[in-house]
């Protein structure tokens, strides 16, 4: 007999039994069941692809007071699951008194509520939406190629410990339009626009996304390279989010702090930016790629202020290092999949809204740049060096955006100096939901980031 994830009561019975087997030797144990299905429809000017991938597996962990022994399997036969739990119990030789994991009683069941359930929409309709959008992009003569993508994800998770039984159903639909042009200097350049919702409603404005991507791509034909130097800049929400996530957020992950590789430890309680600057990680923010109701260690989602009113405030944590650091446990213990370990990971990370107006912020820049569009970055929690690369940039002259564009622009510098140079935060606010985040170059989890527009002086661009 195999574990049937659609039968909640039966699941609870068998998972509690597995926990009980492990707890015969372990100080604490838990079980995580993950079931994921991902439909992808992709079409470009020359090819089309459809795939429907999925996985179902289980991870069990037994804790001896110091360390976890973890085992995963995709064989959900009851006998195999019981044997796996017994093997883990055997790994526990002695109980160490060092850390006692809290396990408060809780049973809850969560589910996303899409406006249009994607399951109720036929695959044929999904394909037609993609085809029509691509046909529209084909009419744009300046495009060298374009790609329209429909991605639909369903994630079902069950967490079970001695005192907890939690389930969550997450639904994600991403509509994505890439537009590619050849620049005047011969390189290929691209941009994209996307919409993210829990249901098929994500495709409602796909034609507008395609149009915007085509228009933005046109600007890249004449895009130039920026001359490296310090500039007065406005950062758009996508870049603001990268700054919050890559440059700051990674350094606030409790496992990074425990490994003594985060400068943030010396800054807790200290001012790093003006009092109108706050940075938040909030997995409970609804309808984002990085949203969830509880983390992979059974902690229910709540926001964490990493920076509050300019002061470095609190870490995001996973189970083990929150105990080791005696830090508040937040819902940030996440794993890439059931065959990976959980780490402290960000979810939806952003600068909080400010009070300024974007248009007025532009007016204050005599000669500088507006950074927007795609980009990526890399963390440096120990040195707090900033690396954000691949940004699209528009020139600002005498307080006005002018028709002059730059591509693949990088931001570098020292994080506290950059945060200290934030002069204004806009009330306009936007979360982007297309990203995946790695711990270094691995352990990929879905995240969202974004926030308001920021005005920053003396920003190093290259």
């Amino acid at each position: 007999m195999n574990l049937d994830t659609s039968n909640k009561q039966e699941c609870k019975k068998i998972l509690k039994e597995l926990v009980s087997i492990m707890n015969s030797k372990a100080q604490y144990s838990d079980v995580l069941v993950m079931e994921v299905s991902e439909l992808s429809v992709t079409k470009d000017f020359a090819t089309a692809d459809v795939s429907n991938a999925g996985e179902l597996g289980i991870k069990m962990r037994a804790f001896d007071g110091e360390k976890f022994f973890e085992k995963f399997t995709t064989n959900l036969g009851y006998d195999n699951l019981r044997n796996t739990a017994r093997e883990l119990a055997k790994e526990i030789k002695t109980i160490k008194p060092r850390i006692k994991i809290a396990d408060k009683r809780l049973e809850k069941h969560f589910s996303d509520k899409p406006e249009i359930n994607a399951d109720k929409v036929s695959l044929a309709k999904k394909v037609v939406v993609i085809e029509k959008t691509l046909e529209m992009m084909k009419k744009q003569k300046h495009l060298r190629n374009a790609r329209v993508i429909y991605e639909e994800g369903k994630i079902f998770k069950i967490f079970c410990s001695k005192n907890r039984f939690l389930t969550q159903k997450l639904s994600k639909v991403l509509a994505l339009c890439y537009a590619m042009v050849q620049s005047e200097t011969g390189e290929l350049r691209y941009c994209f626009e996307h919409a993210f919702r829990p249901g098929f409603e994500a495709t409602a404005e796909i034609a507008k996304l395609a149009q915007k991507a085509s228009e933005e791509a046109k600007k890249l034909i004449r895009a130039k390279k920026v001359t490296p130097g310090k500039y007065h800049c406005i950062l758009g929400p996508a870049i603001t989010g990268l700054l919050a996530h890559e440059s700051f957020g990674h350094g606030m992950e409790s496992d990074t702090v425990y490994k003594q590789r985060a400068l943030a430890k010396d800054w807790i309680g200290k001012r790093i930016a003006s009092n109108f600057v706050s940075i938040v990680d909030d997995p409970s923010m609804k309808n984002c790629n990085g949203s969830y109701y509880f983390d992979d260690e059974g902690q229910v989602s709540k926001p964490t202020y990493l920076v509050k009113d300019g002061i470095v405030n609190d870490y995001i944590t996973e189970m083990l290092t929150s105990h080791k650091l005696k830090a508040r446990r937040s819902a940030n213990g996440r794993c890439e999949s059931f065959d990976h370990k959980s780490y402290a990971r960000m979810s939806v990370t952003f600068f909080a809204k400010g009070k300024s107006n974007f248009k007025d912020m532009i007016k204050k820049v005599k000669d500088g740049f507006f950074l927007y569009g795609r980009g990526g970055g890399m963390e440096d929690p120990k040195g707090w060096g900033v690396q954000i690369q691949g940004n699209t940039v528009q020139r600002i002259k005498n307080g006005k955006l002018v028709d002059e564009y730059y591509d693949d622009v990088g931001i570098t510098g020292y994080l506290p100096a950059i945060l200290g140079d934030i002069k204004e935060v806009s009330k306009e606010f936007e979360i982007t939901s297309i990203g995946r985040c790695g711990k270094g170059h691995k352990e990929w989890v879905p995240v969202s980031e974004g926030g308001p527009y920021l005005r920053i002086e003396n920003l190093d661009l290259a």
Partner: protein, 426 residues
């Protein structure tokens, strides 16, 4: 389960089908500071089918994964429906495979063995001033089996290993870290003592480094930086991406077969080879999912685009021979001694924080974790700033060292010198 799937597929009107089964076994150990934090192990299986349906000159195809308890007939029908909704230009999905090479599989380590490896690293660190703040060692074994509607069946087993460490050092610039990562086909290819020795020194140099000013001139990439340049951890180098038949077919590649990859070359002429046959190589494999046997091919030879690497699909579209899977990246060495490159007025980069070029344009900006400036006979270390350039355009003026090494799927010169490059300061 495979027999049930075969029966279900045979009942449907499908022109071609393929079943893939991937079995993965992992054994991973994690240390925080000098404490073991976790040990994770287990086995997993993924099964998926790809079905192909002919529509005149078109071919519809779709892939669907199948889990143990799925209604297999329903899943097959879903795949057939999906295949009827997307139509690509026709191609023959499978090659006649013949004999496939064997690139080896070393298996994985058990708990006691992997823990012993980790403790070796801590032991090596014991007498150093630097500190090993974290260590992760992963080993993996993968068995990949494919079957198609012609009754052909291929199986390959591969192993993989990954080591990541956090090494910190205190110096004139305060406490600094280096996070070395190394992926190989087997843990036997990673000498833990050498790994710790080399990267302790790197961390020490970073902790005593300066901040760079703007630099324009000759820039050498060495060590981790050259390996990451040619085999970035995320995506491929644009030189490799633009050598893909898929990119050629999609009119994205800048390269033309038989022509130089850049209009003018004034330095060494680069040769880049895809080699999936390296014994226990990280990117070695025996065949691809279209049953095409792996083989060694020159992508770029003496600066000229030689062979586009091509899956069966894009080979048929471009009317060229399929090449099988992309493999380890070999770059042929030059004739210059590494140390001859290191002279006054030159900048050297030994490590990036991350090298993630734009694969289409080839442009990149990469933050420097460790670099050196050669001034008045001295080597001055620095960290920070960014190397700015274009992976393809830089090939106009390069020098390659005659000394070689391998790391994480890269086999080639220990150093490359770009005649003209820019490092932004901080």
């Amino acid at each position: 389960m495979i027999d049930k799937i075969k029966k279900a597929l045979e009942k449907e009107k499908i022109d071609y089908w393929e079943i893939s089964q991937i079995d993965v076994e992992r054994s991973n150990i994690y240390f925080e500071l000098d404490e073991q934090e976790s040990y994770l192990s287990g086995k997993g299986r993924d099964v998926f089918i790809t079905v192909y349906k002919k529509f005149g000159n078109s071919l519809g195809e779709a892939s669907v994964s199948i889990k143990e308890d799925d209604d297999i007939k329903k899943k097959v029908r879903e795949a057939v429906l999906a295949a009827s909704l997307v139509k690509n230009p026709f191609y023959v999905p499978f090659a006649k495979h013949g004999v496939c090479p064997k690139s080896g599989c070393s298996g994985i380590l058990g708990y006691d063995e992997i823990r012993k490896k980790a403790l070796e690293a801590y032991e090596e660190m014991r007498n150093k001033k630097e500190k090993l703040n974290a260590l992760e060692i992963f080993t993996k074994k993968t068995k990949f089996a494919i079957i198609n509607n012609f009754g052909e069946e291929l199986v390959q087993e591969k192993s993989g290993a990954y080591v990541e460490a956090v090494i910190t050092s205190k110096g004139s610039r305060g406490e600094q870290e280096y996070v070395p990562m190394r992926s190989e086909g087997t843990l036997a290819n990673i000498n833990m003592k050498e790994f710790i020795d080399k990267y302790s020194e790197t961390a020490r140099e970073i902790s005593n480094s300066t901040k760079p000013s703007m630099f324009k001139g000759s820039v050498i990439l060495s060590g981790d930086a050259i390996a990451e340049f040619f085999v970035p951890t995320i995506n491929e180098n644009p030189l490799v991406i633009h050598s893909a038949a898929r990119m050629k077919y999609l009119k994205i590649s800048r390269f033309e077969a038989g022509k130089q990859i850049v209009p003018e070359i004034i330095g060494d002429k680069i040769t880049i080879i895809s080699n999936p046959l390296v014994r226990d190589g990280l990117r070695s494999s025996d065949f691809d999912d279209a049953f095409v046997p792996a083989k060694k091919i020159a992508l770029i030879e003496n600066g000229i685009m030689k062979n586009f690497f091509a899956s069966k699909r894009y080979a048929d579209y471009l009317k060229i021979e399929p090449t099988g899977p992309l493999g380890n990246i070999e770059v042929l060495p030059g004739e210059t001694a590494e140390n001859e490159m290191r002279k006054d007025g030159v900048c050297e980069i030994a490590g990036f924080s991350s090298f993630a070029p734009n694969v289409y344009s080839g442009d990149f900006t990469a933050e420097i974790r460790l670099g050196y400036l050669y001034k008045k006979g001295k080597r001055i270390s620095f960290r920070g700033g960014m190397l700015v350039g274009n992976c393809i355009d830089l090939m106009k003026n390069i020098k390659l060292s005659k000394e070689t090494f391998f790391k994480s799927g890269y086999y080639g010169p220990k150093a490359i010198m770009f005649g003209k490059a820019v490092v932004s300061g901080v």
